[in-house]
């Protein structure tokens, strides 16, 4: 027998409790990892190839205020601008669903490719999109979710504009960080609602990264002191600004994570205390046989650490396996397209497990250290 065999046998002496302890740690750490990944995905959307050359232009008053379509000509003339397209949020519901599981934007069909070149779609798709007024292109995730294919019709009821619009799918794209969105033609929207002349936003592409700052400055300056002042910013900054509106969600997730960890510590400490209290007399016997405080402390610590490590391994490993090899889009019903369990998050969870193992061992170890052999032996009778 070795010391580790002794610790192992002690840890598993009450198998049901050991399994429950490991399970509680595993489930809690799985939850912690999930929350941390969700927080990361919400606050750090995956960078898109080409995003470093794209600029989002919105009404300076608010995102919901439209911009006059006449601004396009002025923007196109700014040096360094390669492509400009309207980008109008439609807010449509598909099949009378309660919420919107994918976004729809009206834009210039010709500028789709120059703007979002990283998207993969057939040449026929682009051509059809440019040719047919009611054409749209759809992200692969949404197409798969609703079993839609090229040529199918889609009817969307707008929550912003009166009435509904029917579209025909010209192409299905993939290869972007978020293959859920739908794009259709601005002119189709203008004609349908009967009030042309306004767009939601402008989305531009600059020629080189060096053009980014001057273009942003020039666009902002171009509409200063007009009836529709704009706020231009890089696509990345626009996304981060959007995310900053999730401030409360971040706090909520952080709070839940803290509660999870704190509860976990309480449960584990209680379990370890119970396990040690049941063995008080045995520990007194070990002391009588010559085991010192530090050796008994090491036994308790090793047992506690072992249970926490086993739980950690299961929880973290399980989260990694599920979120890496599972279909996150399906699992989250399209809310998250990627759900990356990063080494940093795994390290954080492992650290929590390690601290948990140590903290849980402290109280019982201290009580054992303070226990005299005689008092410990008295618990025998």
């Amino acid at each position: 027998m070795t010391i580790s065999t002794f610790v192992f046998k002690n840890a598993l002496r009450n198998k049901r409790r050991a399994v429950l302890s490991v399970s509680s740690v595993a489930v809690s750490l799985f939850l912690l990892v999930t929350l941390q990944v969700a927080l990361r995905e919400l606050t750090l959307p995956p960078p898109s190839a080409g995003a470093e050359l794209r600029v989002a232009v919105r009404n300076k008053i608010s995102l919901t205020n439209p911009l006059p379509a006449r601004q396009r000509g002025i923007i196109e003339r700014i040096s360094g601008v390669q492509a400009v397209s309207p980008f109008t949020w439609f807010g449509g519901r598909y099949k009378n669903e309660e919420g919107m599981s994918f976004a729809q934007f009206a834009m210039d069909p010709v500028e789709l490719r120059p703007l979002f070149g990283e998207a993969r779609m057939s040449r026929e798709g682009y051509e059809k999109f440019a040719a047919d007024r009611d054409a749209c292109v759809l992200g692969k995730i949404t197409a798969e979710k609703y079993h839609l294919k090229v040529g199918d019709a889609m009817r969307l009821d707008s929550t912003i504009y009166p009435g509904s619009l029917t579209f025909h799918i010209a192409g299905i794209y993939s290869g972007t960080p978020d293959d859920r969105n739908m794009f259709f033609r601005q002119d189709y929207l203008d004609e349908s609602i009967g009030t042309p002349g306004y767009v939601g936003m402008w989305w531009l592409k600059v020629k080189t990264a060096d053009d980014m700052a001057p273009v942003i400055k020039a666009v902002n300056a171009a509409f200063q002191n007009t009836s529709a002042e704009v706020r231009a910013e890089s696509e990345r900054n626009f996304q981060l600004g959007f995310i900053s509106m999730l401030g409360n969600v971040k706090k909520l997730i952080a709070s839940i994570s803290t509660v999870v960890v704190f509860t976990l510590v309480l449960v584990s400490a209680s379990t370890m205390s119970m396990a040690v209290r049941e063995r008080f007399r045995e520990l007194a016997v070990l002391k009588a046989l010559g085991f010192r405080r530090r050796e008994l402390f090491a036994f308790i610590l090793a047992e506690s650490f072992g249970l926490a490590a086993a739980g950690g391994l299961l929880g973290i490993g399980g989260a990694y396996a599920i979120f890496t090899f599972g279909d996150v889009g399906k699992m989250t019903q399209g809310i998250f397209v990627s759900f990356e369990v990063t080494p940093r998050i795994m390290g954080l969870a492992a650290l929590v497990a390690a601290v948990l193992g140590i903290v849980s061992a402290l109280a019982p170890a201290l009580s054992v250290a303070r226990m005299s052999v005689v008092n410990g032996l008295k618990t025998l009778d």
């Binding site: 010391i3 002496r13 007399r281 009588a288 046989l289 010559g290 085991f291 005689v374 032996l377 009778d381």
Partner: protein, 267 residues
């Protein structure tokens, strides 16, 4: 070879050791080399020397005197039966001799070492090397086999696995349980469990075996077996055995009986 010379020969290799065991061996050699003849005699023949030992327990404002200025000498190789009614202080005396309790005043020397002066860590080390414990309720670890229970005290030594196994086998064979090494405590009878506990007490080859009511939880047949083993430890292995008991029949196995009454030795 005289007993003193034999002891000197035994402890000399340990004088090179670091830590408590080395210090204790060097102290004993010092006693042999420079002490007067009476001291030499004491080291060789008297294993326990107790002087004016008092133990007072404070229970709130009430003070209970468990041991009242007891003086006692126990010779090496004795089988001493400590008798007395409940609360007479016999277990307290046993605990102090075994180094698991401390007296309020007085001195307790075991093999020349004043155990009342050792700190916690030194005392633990000393117990591991010099005292074997046998308890009334056996106190075996239920998840360990008989052999693993016996091996426990050896985990604190520097012995290799093979040497540990050899010593465990010897100890179990000595108590007649060589064929039960793989059995868990629950698979053994009470008498067998107590014999495993005796093997555990023996395995480090301590000079002193202390037994607190070792037959208290056994039927008369098993009690006889256990007492016979303890007796043979004294007669065949030369161990000093100190046993606390209520039972006059068990006490009769001892070479000497001492009665305690209200914390004092009664004549």
């Amino acid at each position: 070879m005289s007993g003193a010379a034999l002891l000197l020969k035994t402890i000399s290799p340990f004088a090179q050791c670091r830590g408590f065991r080395g210090r204790m061996a060097r102290r004993q050699i010092e006693l042999f080399s420079s002490g007067p003849p009476s001291l030499l005699y004491f080291v060789a023949e008297t294993i326990v020397q107790i002087r004016e030992l008092t133990k007072i327990y404070a229970q709130g404002e009430i003070q209970v005197t468990a041991l009242d200025r007891i003086s006692l000498e126990i010779a090496a190789g004795e089988f001493l039966a400590l008798m007395g009614p409940s609360g007479s202080g016999k277990s307290t005396l046993l605990h102090i001799i075994a180094g698991v309790d401390r007296p309020t005043s007085g001195e307790c020397r075991v093999q020349g070492v004043n155990v009342t002066r050792l700190n916690e860590s030194e005392l633990a080390d000393w117990r591991n090397h010099n005292v074997g414990f046998i308890f009334q309720t056996f106190n075996l670890i239920p998840v360990l086999t008989a052999a693993e229970n016996v091996e426990l005290p050896l985990l604190l030594t520097r012995l290799g696995r093979r040497e540990r196994h050899r010593q465990v086998e010897t100890a179990l064979a000595l108590v007649g349980l060589g064929d039960r090494a793989k059995h868990l405590p629950r698979q053994l009878s009470g008498g067998q469990e107590q014999r495993v506990a005796i093997a555990r007490a023996l395995v480090t080859d301590p000079a002193l075996i202390v037994a607190d009511e070792p037959t208290g939880n056994l039927d008369s047949h098993s009690a006889q077996e256990v007492l016979a083993v303890l007796q043979s430890l004294r007669s065949d292995a030369g161990k000093t055995v100190i046993m606390v008991t209520h039972d006059p029949k068990a006490a009769a196995f001892g070479t000497r009986q001492i009665h305690l009454e209200k914390g004092e030795l009664s004549p």
